[in-house]
Subunit: 348 residues, 2 copies
DNA sequence: CTGTTAGCGCCTTCAC
DNA sequence: GTGAAGGCGCTAACAG
């Protein structure tokens, strides 16, 4: 039936052990023998049995990347960079890693499920991307699972989420607070005093930190926040549309809208347009992340650029052990304010 | 060290076989025994060794989804739907499949590499999404690989690409030709006669079929195509920007631009705006796919809606054997013309 | 219903 | 530099 290593050995007239050695390249083998084996592999069209070798070697060549929403380019861009770095280790045909992305859909249960599945596969590395859920029991469950993974020899990297103490996970966190602070500082500097905020899901760290940055900026400017000025939603366009409508219903005098991310901001823009309001003349709008679509908005979105691809690449290298972890295991990645056409001083 | 099935058996005072049986649920076990085993699993915090069970059972619970560009929502949406259908088979904790997406970056070599990796893992199913490369040697290599996969018991599904004869792969192809035909028919009906086309990469089936549909529409209208009216690029915004500029340089009298997809169309819109041209007053623009972003364009994009999520879900079910394949193994998925603000009759 | 017995295909000491 | 032998952890017939 299916060709095994023993078949190759017979064909090449060597022992199975020798075939194994040339395939794994971790051992000296005479050049002539190697040639013969390689030829046999080719002729028989042999493909290693992954599970068998993983079992025997107690390690697998699988690496998992967890994302909250694979249809969102925010994650796609990171995942792409991570995968390129992990899978692209141009080596011999036998040495590649299977870098693989798993979509949790933002669900804590799915996240845990995938971590278990990856643990079961004895994955060599796991990268968790994007904001975490702050719900205490779940956070504890994830922390416990991460600890077990690292204990089992799996390298764990957190990319774009806060560090989790005591897990042995290397972390690249995004400076969401600083970025959000910069955005609102910018609006305040333009003269805005009544700023609505369309925040993300209340239970996610990303939302919390961005909201906190926003509030710090308001406080620094001596602006007292009105409870009506904040709504929560998801990280999608629709939430932006509905959020903008709701905020303007609550307080039509708002002169600016700070959105949880670019998709939300685009939704908000659509709502403003549909309400007959002009951007930025009537209302300024800001996004976050600087995804490709933010530049196609009319007017282009003022936002915070997060170096997603760079961060992903670095996370990938960390996961492969090809780059040393920062001293304390955690590094912060800063965003950069991109001022574009969607913000302007409020009218008189 | 790490807990094994034997440990659980000892703890529960049953044989390893029994533990295996309750974990896999494919065999009758007394309720009391099952309880005992489950408790032991819990107390010992046991996690199945995936490679070992895959080896013994000669099947794995891994399913792969290949995409050309994970940062492109076109693939993200499909992958999300596929993964939900494959991974979400809410069963007991032991029965889930690891649905996993692999990003080929559109590279034929990567595609083959991932297929080999998946073959090595003895994947239960593989779904290939998006257009294929028409390059003959590569197409043959992929066909051969697919045949080997199906021979080895892996279920193979093609989603959004043409069928590959003799491989045993079930296919869901997109009616790119029909969709493109409808778009250009629409423009022609509006009165356009000089229509530029920003096509995708020349070597991909998606590009070919869309181009063919476009040309059929032109031919049907008795419009003789000018060779200057077509440029090729990638499926991204930038290609759209540059393509639009190039086409207008070649022939400033064009009154409409047909783009390879929505991203390309958005890029073209940006180029037109930057050139001081109004959409659709000066130039009409059309996209393809109807991604979420297409509705945020100003004006909203006339495009062809492809039911990506539905197609993905169906592909996922086919991959799981939860839905019967169409009679001849191939089904065509049609797109729907969405007429929006970006197209209009040309000015006098 | 449950225990026993063989492997699944490969890696890895150990000898030669 | 190469072969021989044991075992990785689990499943799948068999018996009972």
């Amino acid at each position: 039936m299916t060709v095994t290593l023993a078949d190759v050995a017979a064909h090449a007239q060597v022992s199975p052990a020798t075939v194994s050695r040339v395939l794994n390249g971790n051992y000296p083998v005479a050049a002539a023998t190697r040639e013969r084996v390689l030829r046999a592999v080719d002729e028989l069209d042999y493909v290693v049995n992954g599970p068998a070798s993983a079992l025997a070697a107690a390690t697998s060549d699988l690496a998992g990347i967890l994302v909250n929403d694979i249809a969102d380019p925010f994650f796609g861009i990171m995942a792409s960079a991570i995968q390129a770095e992990i899978g692209g280790s141009g080596g011999r045909a036998g040495c590649e890693r299977l870098a693989v992305v798993c979509n949790t859909g933002g669900s804590p249960e799915q996240e845990l499920k995938y971590l278990t599945l990856l643990q079961r596969q004895r994955a060599a590395a796991v990268v968790l991307t994007g904001g975490a859920v702050t719900d205490a029991p779940h956070a504890a469950a994830v922390a416990a699972k991460l600890r077990k993974l690292t204990d089992g020899g799996t390298r764990v990297v957190l990319c774009g989420r806060p560090p989790v103490a005591g897990t042995g996970a290397v972390t690249l966190t995004f400076d969401n607070l600083g970025g959000a602070r910069a955005v609102t500082d910018h609006l305040v500097a333009l003269g805005h005093r009544r700023i609505g905020c369309i925040a993300g899901p209340a239970e996610r760290t990303t939302t919390r930190h961005r909201l906190e940055g926003h509030r710090l900026a308001l406080a620094a400017a001596g602006i007292e926040e009105d409870a009506r000025w904040t709504v929560h939603g998801r990280f999608d366009r629709r939430s932006g549309y509905e959020g903008a409508l709701e905020l303007l219903r609550r307080d039509p005098s708002l002169t600016a809208l700070v959105a949880a991310n670019d998709s939300v901001a685009l939704g908000a823009c659509a709502a403003l347009r549909d309400s007959g309001l002009r951007i930025p003349d009537d209302v300024s709008v800001t996004g976050f992340d600087d995804l490709p679509c933010s530049i196609d908005a009319v007017p282009a979105l003022t936002t915070v650029r997060l170096p997603l691809a760079e961060a992903g690449a670095r996370a990938g290298r960390l996961a492969m052990g090809r780059e040393d972890a920062p001293g304390d295991g955690t590094a912060s990645v800063r965003g950069e304010l991109m001022v574009r056409g969607s913000t302007e001083a409020p009218r008189e």
